[in-house]
């Protein structure tokens, strides 16, 4: 389960070697924007070695490769896939064909190294107007696509609008991506909050993302990971209510009742499904119930 995804510049050893200590559910090693063209080769080898030699514990490892319109991405795939990262993050995905092009190259390298074809997933980074409009086609373009990811900085440049902390300008894109990803049955991650020193702002932004239906949120600073993890974890009251829902449903079944109310509200299938998801999440996070 991924709530937080923290970016690491791919050519900075000091940050890469401390990656697993920063409590992010996923670590994104960046070969794209954080690396200058003259250092693409160095970053690729450094990230490959980081994956090969360092233990990242339970964190999912994700590598942001260069986009399919660059001269770098095939070399990225060739170097990184044999190290078995959890997923590749493909930037600037505008259409399903971008994903399919990457998928073919990944399959070729996986087969070449004797890996199971399809074992490494793809996260599609949507950061253009075209990508937002094609979100569902992208989400369903390959079984490898595990999630969509909104990149608001490039997107707002493409939309020719100002990026603000309040995020009014990305409301439509956020909701479009959530709907597309959920319709496709995959996860969806929100754009990073870029003011590293605004501790209140990250809490608010992460809570908004969760309220909209995102699965998690990216971060460009380790300072934001705690707030994101908190926002995307069920709290004590939610866990308690989820257990009460399941108990009420089991009681109703035992008593042969078709419908049942809890705290004055009818319990129906969506409420049960939400309660089951909350309990599953709480268990995965090692969170318990207050009372037996």
């Amino acid at each position: 389960m991924i709530r937080s995804l923290l970016f690491f510049p791919g050519n900075n050893p000091n940050m890469l070697i401390n990656a697993s200590a920063l409590l992010s559910d996923a670590l994104i090693f960046d070969l794209e924007d954080a690396v200058s063209p003259a250092e693409k080769d160095a970053a690729r080898i450094l990230v490959r070695n980081t994956l090969r030699y360092m233990d990242h514990g339970s964190a999912e490892t994700v590598v942001r490769i260069n986009s399919v319109d660059t001269a770098y991405w095939r070399s990225d795939v060739q170097a990184i896939i044999p190290e078995r990262p959890s997923m590749l993050l493909l930037p600037k995905v505008g259409s399903a064909s971008d994903v399919r092009e990457l998928e073919c190259e990944m399959a070729r390298v996986e087969a070449e190294c004797g890996m199971e074809v399809g074992s490494v997933g793809i996260i599609a980074l949507i950061e253009t107007a075209l990508g937002v409009e094609n979100a569902f086609q992208i989400a369903t373009s390959s079984p490898r696509v595990r999630a969509l990811f909104l990149g608001a900085e490039d997107l707002t440049a493409d939309l020719r609008c100002k990026r603000t902390k309040e995020g009014r300008e990305i409301e439509y894109s956020r909701q479009r991506l959530v709907v597309a990803a959920r319709a496709a049955g995959i996860d969806v991650y929100d754009t990073p909050f870029t003011d590293v020193n605004d501790d209140e702002g990250i809490i608010k932004d992460a809570m908004l993302a969760r309220a909209l239906g995102f699965s998690g949120k990216a971060a460009i600073s380790p300072r934001h990971v705690g707030a994101i993890n908190d926002a995307f974890s069920p709290d004590e009251a939610e866990i308690e209510y989820a257990f009460e829902v399941i108990e009420a449903i089991e009681r109703a079944k035992a008593e042969g009742k078709g419908a049942i109310a809890l705290r004055g509200k009818m319990i129906d299938a969506p409420i049960v499904a939400r309660a089951e998801r909350t309990i599953e999440m709480a268990r995965a996070l090692g969170l318990g119930r207050r009372k037996a």
Partner: protein, 90 residues
């Protein structure tokens, strides 16, 4: 891999290493400068020589300015410098 020209990789920032390589007939020469030369100098030279052997380098002078880098970082910087010196920029 044949060393065709002088090349460098890495930085002198903390936890990194700055590696230079140049052609040197058929010999291999590895020089290490490090704040932890007493404790890890031999390990650094050993892993550099391993990378040179893996890449099939037969003649090179390598200088490593280590700033407290882990082995995986030193290996990466040596490999990058060697590939750049051999004209392999993929």
């Amino acid at each position: 891999m044949k060393i065709l020209k002088n090349a460098a990789a890495g930085t002198v920032e903390s936890s990194d290493a700055y590696v230079t390589v140049e052609p040197l007939g058929e010999e291999i020469s590895v020089e290490v400068e490090s704040v932890v030369i007493e404790q890890f100098g031999e390990d650094i030279e050993r892993c550099a020589r391993e990378v040179l052997a893996e890449l099939g380098v037969e003649g090179a002078r390598l200088v490593i300015n280590d700033r407290g880098a882990l082995e995986c970082v030193i290996r990466a910087r040596v490999e990058t410098a060697v590939r750049r010196a051999g004209g392999d920029l993929s």
